[in-house]
């Protein structure tokens, strides 16, 4: 059943490629149907899922000579992230409704990325996981370089080279662990039972963990993220922040942590320290940005720091907080990018905060302002939204594992409030006097010719997309059990045997 999330996405790509050129509406509808179908399949998978089980979806031999299998399966963690992917994909399609240039190619690349992401979350064969992981890298380049904005070729190349470098580290680690484990299987469930030699774990763990964590925005290898997010078109930034960064965190959890518990034990303090530096550093840099989208870009680095911190707390509450934070950040970052990239930038053609300050957007675009207020609240971690539950769990987990770092993290949250507040204030509720120009004269903001009359209204697809994401965040915030009931039992599976035996879980 869940395997169809992957197939539907690639089918969508195929259909899109066969569409006649220039038929943008058809491409949009195909995209919408594909995204909805993917989400529905994910939802159905959730409905059927029995918490605590690892549900095999498809399993057949692929390259018998090397013991590689085509093995898709799901546990609670995968399922949560599949749901997130479905939501982010649908939101992204709705907010990319205005892509006019080469629409069908845009959505074809978009769904290649989505298909790869679904595949990663569902793969229980490491070779297969890596194949999907790389499939997700290539479309990012084209999405950013062809449809992006500010310094798009630079941003795209940087992002792709960072991703590729990270996956090169992972590939070295995967080949090495495959050979060390006897070159018989890549099945993660079997490998998780294999006692890897201590010396091997000591270098393989950092290699694989860092390789994946580059994509999760681990400081100091995070620099691809802000430039990439800023250069990307709205739909792609929503996916980048929403799901692609989760690929990295998921890989850390699924591969590096379950296979190399001794390496993890030795290196966890370092990872935690880097994660906390990421939280505080990302927040502080976000505080001084002039470009609205850079604020969100750096906030992603900060929020992903919570995920990495939660992972290495190695207690159930921290781990489930990390997974919940993956979900929560995916939704909220998507929402923030939707407001900044689609609602504001596509209309005003500026993201410069001082310039936006003079536009009084809260009066002209009440819906955008309202959405951003809600998303900002969620991002700050206000109770009632998903971010609160997730970050609280991470901090409680961190308090048990690294009390000192938990305190610093609290400081990071405060800075988070500050930068969100500042961006909100400047972008929407600016009190700077409008430059004293006669109505109809060219205002300061470049390209804002419609300034006098008000901007184009926020369209229906945008509203739907925003409401969808806000709804998801609220639902999880008010009733976290909806996800926690599948996440928490999954840490009891045989995958985490080593961590439990270490007494840490």
């Amino acid at each position: 059943m869940l395997a169809w999330t992957v197939y539907i996405s690639f089918l969508g790509v195929l259909v899109l490629m066969l569409l006649p050129r220039g038929n943008a509406p058809a491409a949009r509808w195909v995209a919408l149907i594909t995204a909805v179908a993917g989400l529905l399949v994910g939802g159905a998978g959730y409905a059927q899922f029995q918490p605590g089980k690892i549900q095999t979806v498809t399993r057949c031999s692929w390259v018998p000579a090397l013991g590689l299998e085509y093995h898709l399966a799901a546990d609670g963690v995968s399922l949560t992230l599949v749901l997130l992917t479905g939501l982010a994909a649908l939101g992204g399609v709705l907010l990319s409704w205005n892509v006019e240039a080469r629409t069908k190619e845009f959505f074809a690349f978009y769904f290649t990325l989505i298909g790869g992401v679904y595949g990663v979350f569902l793969s229980f064969d490491l070779f297969l996981l890596f194949v999907f992981y790389e499939i997700a890298i290539i479309p990012k380049y084209f999405l950013i370089a062809l449809w992006g904005s500010t310094r798009r070729e630079y941003g795209a190349m940087k992002l792709v080279l960072y991703s590729f470098f990270g996956s090169a580290l992972v590939l070295i680690g995967l080949i090495a662990l495959y050979v060390v484990a006897g070159a018989r299987t890549m099945n993660v469930l079997e490998l998780a039972q294999h006692p890897f030699p201590h010396g091997f774990q000591m270098w393989a763990f950092p290699l694989v963990f860092v390789g994946f964590a580059i994509l999760a925005g681990l400081w100091p290898l995070h620099t691809w993220a802000p430039t990439g997010h800023v250069a990307a078109p709205t739909g792609a930034s929503m996916l980048l922040a929403g799901v692609v960064m989760k690929l990295g965190a998921y890989g850390c959890l699924r591969v590096a942590m379950t296979l190399f518990p001794e390496g993890l034990e030795a290196w966890k303090t370092w990872v935690a320290a880097l994660a906390v530096i990421g939280i505080v550093y990302g927040a502080m840099v976000a505080l001084v940005q002039k470009d609205f989208k850079f604020v969100i870009g750096y906030s992603s680095v900060s929020h992903m720091g919570f995920v990495l911190l939660g992972l290495v707390t190695l207690n159930t509450i921290g781990l489930s907080g990390a997974v919940l934070q993956m979900f929560s950040h995916g939704i909220i970052a998507g929402l923030l990018f939707a407001v900044v990239g689609r609602m504001v930038y596509d209309r005003t053609h500026t993201r410069d905060l001082p310039a936006l300050e003079r536009l009084h957007l809260s009066r002209r675009m009440p819906f955008a302002a309202g959405t951003f207020v809600i998303a900002g609240m969620a991002s700050m971690g206000l109770p009632g939204f998903s971010g609160f539950v997730a970050e609280l769990q991470v901090i409680i987990g961190a308090w048990q594992a690294f009390p000192m770092l938990a305190v610093i993290t609290g400081g990071g949250i405060l800075i988070g409030v500050a930068y969100t507040w500042r961006a909100l204030q400047k972008a929407f509720f600016g009190d700077a006097a409008e430059p004293a120009v006669a109505p109809g004269a060219e205002p300061a903001a470049a390209g804002d010719s419609a300034s006098g009359q008000g901007l184009q209204v926020v369209s229906m697809p945008e509203r739907l997309g925003a409401v969808l994401l806000i709804g998801a965040s609220l639902l999880v915030g008010l009733y976290p059990q909806v996800l926690l009931r599948v996440i928490v039992p999954s840490f009891a599976s045989p995958l985490f045997d080593w961590l439990r035996q270490g007494g840490s879980l």
Partner: protein
């Protein structure tokens, strides 16, 4: 052994020779009046039919026997390698069908086929003498093919360089072989291995192995014997360059790995400490060459502006990766080498095919020739994307699985103790570098805005047939990547 038996074993080779003769005769007798394109097409179809018949023969009638006192070995593994070789030949012929560089299509195809026969014999050869003869049979037609575009000065330069380097290499090779014979008194590979297993290592043997490595280094395009590669790839007609880069590489790598495995394999030399030192000697020599090839090939490719030269430099880099498989010196590594060389050859042939299209349209394989290519020929552009990503090793394309298979085989050497770990790490990191320059070409194709002043340079669509051919090769690359078992299964079973 009767000659009839030999004929049965060598039937595919015989069939290819006959095909070459038929192509020549048909063109000479009945096609004088037809247009050049038609002659190429008919000749090409005959060639394809001959190759297909040989492939079918090998697939349907598996035979296994040594012939000529062990000089010529036919077993399932050699049969599979020959099938792969003929597949590459067919792809190269398909790509060259529309090549307008020559007025002598039949001669071109016949030379291609003669060279292929050399490769097939080379694959089956298990004796230094036969190996040398077969290598010359491979090389001589290739020299001519490199200079087949008689109106181009660059092609003449390419051919001359290739010939001079190749002739020197042959001399080294022969010298090395004679030294090996002098030391061991044997020319058969297994016999050499047997003699060496029993006796200690002489310095002369070290010299001999060094000479062999030099000789093969030229053929395999390994640093520091790679200087001819970019020039030849750039100057030769793309169809010839594609063939030089694919078929001869597969055959030469296979036989080189076989020599190292059978005659100088470390396991066979475990008899004495000296012998192990010899194994260690050539292993570290080859490891050094592999590292140099990967680094220099990839770094040189970064700065190329001509795509043909870029493919030449990347060929050097890929030769470095392939040496890892030779270094691993065991049977499963041999299978990985065959898989890698085959898929690499396929992607390279395709890439040269696209380069040919671009050159014909724009007269240039540099940046301005590629700008707007995705709009002029969307299918060919898509095919190029697949070829380049396969060369870069992006899943789910064949190049990725090839890398995984090869690197895993290399790491397995010595039961996972990981002597070659540093080389694998270097290779994977270097493939990140390679990704940059492949992406650069794709950037020209898909992203670069049309240049205004030279806008009318390239116009018109490439023919539908040319695009379809490329698409077929691209599909093969995808299929081998998504279902590696198509090739890995038989290779594994044949060990």
């Amino acid at each position: 052994m009767s000659y009839l038996e030999l004929l049965r074993l060598a039937a595919p080779e015989t069939g290819i020779v006959l095909t070459a003769l038929v192509v020549l005769t048909v063109d000479l007798t009945s096609m004088r009046g037809l247009g050049l394109r038609m002659r190429f097409l008919v000749g090409g179809l005959l060639t394809l039919a001959g190759c297909a018949a040989a492939v079918a023969w090998m697939l349907v009638l598996p035979v296994q026997a040594p012939a000529l006192a062990g000089m010529f070995v036919v077993n399932p593994l050699t049969q599979i390698v020959k099938v792969c070789l003929l597949g590459l030949v067919m792809a190269a012929v398909l790509v060259s069908l529309e090549a307008g560089f020559t007025r002598h299509p039949a001669e071109f195809l016949a030379l291609l086929l003669f060279s292929s026969v050399g490769m097939m014999v080379l694959v089956s050869a298990a004796d230094l003498l036969l190996i040398f003869v077969a290598l010359e049979l491979v090389s001589l037609p290739l020299y001519v093919l490199a200079g087949f575009d008689k109106e181009s000065r660059r092609a003449a330069e390419a051919a001359l360089k290739y010939f001079l380097f190749g002739a020197t290499a042959a001399a080294f090779l022969l010298f090395g072989m004679s030294l090996v014979y002098g030391v061991t008194g044997a020319t058969g590979l297994t016999a050499i291995g047997g003699v060496l297993g029993g006796q200690g290592v002489e310095p002369l043997l070290m010299v001999a192995v060094g000479m062999l490595t030099v000789g093969f280094g030229f053929k395999l395009a390994v640093v520091p014997f790679h200087l001819w590669v970019p020039d030849t790839y750039q100057g030769a007609p793309p169809a010839s360059a594609a063939f030089i880069a694919s078929g001869s590489k597969l055959a030469c790598f296979f036989i080189f790995a076989k020599i190292m495995l059978l005659a100088f394999g470390a396991e066979r030399l475990t008899g004495s400490a000296d012998a192990r030192a010899l194994g260690g000697g050539w292993v570290s020599l080859l490891a050094l060459l592999a590292a140099l090839s990967m680094v220099l090939g990839n770094l040189a490719a970064l700065v190329q502006s001509s795509v043909k030269r870029l493919l030449g430099c990347s060929a050097v880099a890929h030769a470095g990766y392939l040496l890892l498989g030779v270094l691993a010196h065991d049977e499963s590594a041999l299978a990985a080498v065959v898989y890698y060389a085959t898929t690499y050859g396929l992607a390279t042939i395709g890439a040269f095919g696209v380069v040919d299209l671009v050159e014909k349209q724009a007269g240039n394989d540099r940046r301005q020739g590629w700008v707007g290519f995705s709009r002029r020929a969307p299918l060919a552009a898509l095919a190029m994307m697949i070829f380049l990503f396969s060369l870069a090793g992006i899943p789910p394309l064949a190049g990725f699985f090839g890398k995984f298979y090869l690197f895993a085989a290399a790491l397995k050497t010595g039961g996972g103790s990981g002597e070659l770990l540093w080389l694998v790490v270097l290779a994977v990191l270097m493939s990140v570098v390679s990704f940059y320059y492949y992406l650069k070409v794709l950037k020209w194709i898909y992203l670069a805005p049309p240049v205004d002043d030279s806008a009318p340079v390239a116009s018109g669509q490439p023919s539908r047939m040319a695009q379809c051919v490329l698409l077929v090769i691209a599909l093969a690359v995808i299929a081998l990547g998504c279902f590696p078992n198509l090739l890995v299964g038989p290779l594994h079973a044949a060990r």
